[in-house]
């Protein structure tokens, strides 16, 4: 179980919507999938995340939901990592802390576009078979069967463990942690904290582990709309409107809207 944190590089704090809890909602679905697999097939679940010390909260929540162990990768050297760097570091931590793990689950695809890339890149880094957007998981022997919905195609895939799966938000609605679970998560379990040194990552290794992208500038999305005004007779205005915007509408609804030849003449 890998969680990805919404983390504000400017202030150095976790950005969190208290209403949604501490853990990224997508990761909660992955955690739920892990719990259900454990209930069905038996397993030990390790939750792992990378972030500032406050990221411990996310791991406590995972423990409260039912994780057996938790690992926090925390080092100022690693702050500001892009998905490329994050996936490299996570891979190294997984190889060190959970060698021989059978299945890695990550949250997939949220409305928040920051969170979709680490899972697939981690699969590459670990060189394991992988599938995104899983809605249902089954295991028989070493074979993992995945049902998923991609671009409106329903697919059933099979692969051998170890594998990496990103879990869709459509299924595996996460359970709430009980208060007893929350209490135990603080009382009973130690969280392993790894820094860059423990992972054997030095500043000199920026080429292998460093970020590939750089954020040049962050700015507020302009609220100012272009505000095109269309006037004139309603019949012409409707045609004029569609001439200008039918492609945009078509792209959204997935239906072709085209000006037919005879309509043009």
């Amino acid at each position: 179980m890998v969680t990805e944190l919404p983390w504000d590089e400017e202030t150095g704090t976790l950005r969190r919507d208290l209403a949604a809890g501490m853990m990224n909602p997508a990761c909660k679905h992955a955690m739920e999938a892990a719990l259900q697999l454990r209930e069905k097939y038996g397993a030990s679940i390790t939750a792992i995340t990378m972030g500032p010390p406050a990221a411990e909260e996310v791991l406590r929540e995972a423990l409260a939901m039912g994780a057996d162990r938790a690992v926090l990768i925390c080092d100022a050297l690693l702050a500001g990592s892009d998905t490329y760097a994050t996936s490299s570091i996570l891979a190294r931590a997984i190889q060190k802390e959970i060698p021989g793990c059978d299945l890695i689950l990550c949250g997939a695809y949220t409305s928040d576009s920051e969170t979709a890339q680490v899972g697939p890149q981690l699969a590459e880094e670990l060189q394991v078979p992988s599938a995104a957007y899983a809605e249902h998981l089954e295991i028989s022997g070493r074979t993992l069967r995945v049902r998923r919905l991609v671009d409106n195609f329903r697919e059933t895939l099979e692969m051998e463990c170890p594998a990496l799966i990103t879990v869709s938000m459509e299924r595996y609605d996460p359970r709430y942690a009980s208060f007893a679970g929350l209490n135990d998560a603080f009382a009973q379990t130690e969280i392993s904290v790894l820094n860059a040194e423990a992972l054997g990552i030095t500043a000199a290794e920026r080429e292998a582990y460093g970020s590939r992208t750089r954020v040049r500038r962050v700015f507020v999305r302009s609220a100012q709309k272009r505000n095109v005004v269309i006037t004139g007779a309603a019949a012409n205005a409707a045609a004029e409107f569609l001439d200008k915007y039918q492609r945009k509408i078509s792209a959204v609804i997935g239906k072709s809207i085209e000006t037919k030849k005879q309509a043009q003449t």
Binding site: R145, V150, V218, Y245, A251
Partner: protein, 331 residues
């Protein structure tokens, strides 16, 4: 010197995916002009003539096609192997991929194999004279935009949100260099086996997750006019929403109420017919990507919030829009 190349990955499995590929080809043509590069569409699969023709007529200078029965269904793994080889052979400057479900799984893995950077779900692409791709992507939950660059690694890669760019109109007099490449020998069997797949049924709409919303206010005049919004919503696979006065007038049920005391919507496209824009309604609009408002009063708040403000009688314009759409929509 070898000509620089901007690549667009041909994602074509359904209408939506095809559209974004064409949109990316259009943007690549603009970018290529700035750095004297060519636009190359890469398409992998089986029975690809339709796509080769389509990419050519929408602006690609070169098509790299690998057409083989083995590739009949989408396989992320096979596509990764083939793309990685092609990129290593030919060294493109830029690779653009649609931010479809497929693209957002495929692109991060390809970037990782190529040890290069990738930005996600871009809503803007620009290029500096020395060829640095400036990728504008939503950040911090979508409230902010970030300009992202990949300075020291090539190719520069981005996935791009569908609908961001406008495709170049179809022109079947255009030509391209088509390179039909063989399937490499010893293509390993994919570790992920596709057991079965089928096209999924359309997802059921609810107001809260509707991508298209058609909202109406008292400006629709009467209940009969208001009911015509249903027809527009049907044509656009959307849902109908209503303001408070409309619900109170009994033109629509309370379920359709959009606003502070009703549903909160976040459509990609919002049509707002005869709505003045009182806060009791607009507070429920979230961030609609594209707002079209129709109102007789150009000074109405809703008209000022709109991307497109149509000054007209809402009921009248609705009739014309429905008539015009029926001519143009191909299911």
């Amino acid at each position: 010197m070898k000509k620089k190349s901007i690549w667009v990955f041909g994602d074509y499995r359904n209408y939506y995916q095809n559209r974004v590929t064409l949109q990316l080809i259009a943007r690549a043509v603009d970018l290529a002009r700035e750095i004297s590069a060519e636009v190359c569409a890469v398409v992998v699969g089986h029975d690809l003539e339709e796509w080769i023709w389509e990419y050519t007529s929408h602006g690609a200078d070169r098509i790299l096609a690998i057409d083989h029965p083995t590739l009949t269904s989408y396989s992320t793994e096979h596509y990764l192997i083939l793309m990685e080889r092609l990129v290593r052979e030919r060294d493109p400057e830029i690779i653009l991929i649609g931010a479809t479900d497929f693209g957002r799984e495929f692109a991060p893995r390809l970037a990782k194999r190529l040890k290069t950077g990738l930005s996600a779900d871009c809503v803007g692409l620009d290029i500096t004279p020395d060829g640095l791709l400036v990728q504008t992507a939503p950040s911090f939950g979508g409230n902010m935009l970030a300009e992202i660059v990949t300075e020291h690694h090539r190719p520069q890669m981005a996935t791009v949100r569908p609908g961001t760019f406008r495709e170049i109109p179809h022109d079947n007099t255009r030509t391209s260099v088509v390179e039909r490449l063989p399937l490499p020998a010893h293509l390993p069997a994919p570790r992920v086996r596709l057991v079965e797949y089928e096209r999924a049924a359309q997802k059921e709409h609810t107001i809260e997750n509707a991508t298209v919303m058609v909202c109406g206010g008292r400006g629709m005049g009467n209940k009969k006019n208001f009911k015509k919004l249903d027809e527009l919503a049907r044509l656009l696979d959307g849902d109908v929403g209503a303001t408070r006065p409309v619900v109170f007038s009994g033109w629509a049920g309370h379920d359709a109420l959009v606003g502070q005391a009703g549903k909160h919507i976040k459509p990609k496209i919002l049509f707002s017919f005869g709505i003045s824009g009182a806060i009791q309604h607009t507070a429920g609009l979230g961030e609609a990507d594209f707002i079209v408002a129709i109102n007789k009063n150009p000074q109405a708040t809703m008209m000022k919030m709109a991307d497109v403000a149509v000054v007209a009688d809402a009921g009248d314009w609705l009739n014309h829009l429905i008539r015009e759409l029926k001519k143009r929509i191909r299911e």
